[in-house]
Symmetry: C2
Subunit: 334 residues, 2 copies
DNA sequence: CTGTTAGCGCCTTCAA
DNA sequence: TTGAAGGCGCTAACAG
């Protein structure tokens, strides 16, 4: 026998489809107790599972959430531990609340738009930078969204981010406290992001409060490769003794490249990262970093989204998760 | 205006729904060229996207694939780089072929079963050990599956794995070649798996060929925590000089714990891992490991699955991806 | 080439 | 408390 439908159960039970439907949906007050029992037994016996496609057709909505992961074409962002930890945590929380997760790795507006509409998704969570799409997305589709780490000027979006400015401050203060005075700021990656901009501002403001001049002298052009970063760092003049790198992944690559070039960390260069991905604690030396609570970020994102699915008129929420400095071994006292 | 439907386009174009449907589905031979043009323009203009739920209702199938990730309750397996790399790669390949990915992290048979049926999934990819479910799954649902690293005795399943036995051989041979004679075998994790069993067999057979007795003397009880592994390793008598750990993640944890206990790697203990996750190259020392080609494994898995979706009568495929020894810095020559 | 019809599985009126 | 009818958006089968 093929997959059971309401009709199958109904005919087996000798009742109408409606009645079975009512039992399935828990409207017990519309069905006689004896029928409820009988029908429930049949449902169990036939392994009946409601067809979501059919439901979504009538309901104009599903219980499926889109998780949109920013990725360059054919680039696997899930190798990035930060993304993996966040996405996994989101999926888990969604499941617990009864939602399914549709994953899409893309950078392309049209693709996102199509994916969102074709399944009648109940909502979507975005990871990565989608600021430039936010307005259009809100117009084109009418489903609740939540962005992460967005600095869109729009007041009408949901977002969960971390206190990037404060992260920059913490990194700078720690390095200053450890005696460093010439510190590079490294924002790796091809695209400039507002996130890095904020971290830089925090970083510079702490330097400024410390009497060091608040200008671009200590900044470096961005780059993606560890070796490139290392070479640029070593070429700086006047030379620096430390660097604040805005992503753990890159910081670890940088350390690796420095070692390859015969430099020692933290003896020659002290390094502070950002994110607190798992990898950091196994690096050598273990990476001192500005930690963000990834699991909590995921939970908050899910909670906000669900709130807005259940109540479309809920006001926009923009939550900032706190950050903290996690001292390990990659910074040396001068 | 709400989301456009076939009906909307049809009325705007002054034709029947069927005609529009034919254009959408590329049956151009059934529509006059002039209509094709006009309708395509309207589709573009209205941002028409076919409703997948409706399609799936009529077609009895979707273009959505389930990715089932083995996870203990509320445990985020995606923090494991191996899983992240594999799953991300699978999603990417599926996308390229026009499939959507539904992610489910679970361990529970009933949950899996429900997820599979409620969306009329076209197929499913399993990561982790699901051997005990395989038979039931095949009976209960009728969609194509592919498992990974399964050693189910069933000849009728699709599977892509790695040559675990050979991996064990490679690890042992390398350590032997480097002069080690007393080597521990460590299969971390709570559950014993056939995968580890195979790696152990390969490992022991290499020892045997080398004249070392093929018995359990060198084996260790399994455990999950780095510290526990380290202590057990150090307690072994007669003492060992090296260990083969069947997962990089665990190997790295072990190294970490050994260092904490005042031991040095590879000076006091040489370690060989398995998987070649990204983390390994940044560990200290960089981890020597039995490498499996994760990206290729993902592509092969997708290809096989798609083949079976397109042709339900395609014969079962069981592909083994080769492994190779990747020499880095965690093994010392004795 | 075009349109009408029926039906996929479900839910929501509305009557009985 | 029960059931019949209609419709969600789409495709397939069949007539014109």
């Amino acid at each position: 026998m093929r997959i059971a439908t309401l009709k199958d159960i109904a005919s087996r039970a000798g009742v109408s489809i409606t009645t079975v439907s009512n039992v399935v949906n828990g409207n017990y007050n519309r069905v006689s107790p004896s029928n409820v029992k009988r029908i429930q037994a049949l449902i169990e016996e036939c392994h009946y599972v409601p067809n979501q496609s059919a439901r979504s057709l009538t309901n104009k909505s599903t219980n499926m959430i889109g998780i949109i992961i920013q990725s360059e074409y054919m680039t696997n962002s899930l190798t990035d531990s930060y993304v993996g930890e966040f996405v996994g945590s989101v999926v888990l929380h969604l499941q617990r609340l009864g939602y399914d997760s549709l994953i899409r790795m893309t950078n392309d507006y049209v693709d996102i738009n199509r994916s969102l509409r074709k399944w009648n998704l109940a909502g979507a969570i975005f990871t990565g930078t989608y600021d430039r799409y936010i307005r259009d997305l809100a117009e084109d589709t009418r489903i609740p969204f939540i962005f992460t780490d967005s600095y869109s000027s729009s007041r009408r979006i949901n977002n969960v981010g971390v206190d990037d400015f404060r992260g920059g401050v913490l990194a700078a203060e720690h390095l200053l406290k450890m005696g460093h005075r010439r510190i590079a700021f490294i924002a790796p990656g091809l695209h400039k992001s507002e996130v890095d901009e904020q971290r830089k501002n925090g970083f510079l403001s702490a330097l400024g409060r410390f009497g060091l001049k608040e200008n671009g002298d200590y900044l470096m052009p961005t780059s993606d490769s560890g070796m490139e970063m290392a070479e640029m760092l070593m070429d700086m003049s006047p030379p620096v003794t430390a660097a604040f790198v805005t992503a753990d992944r890159a910081a670890i690559r940088l350390i690796d490249a420095l070692k390859e070039l015969g430099k020692r960390v933290p003896d020659d260069y002290s390094i502070v990262g950002f994110d607190n991905i798992e990898l950091g604690q196994y690096a050598t030396p273990p990476l001192t970093t500005v930690a963000q609570a990834i699991q909590r970020k995921a939970k908050v994102a899910v909670d906000i989204l669900v709130r807005h699915i259940e109540n479309p008129y809920a006001p926009p929420e923009n939550i900032l998760i706190d950050v903290s400095l996690l001292e390990r071994g990659s910074v040396r006292r001068l």
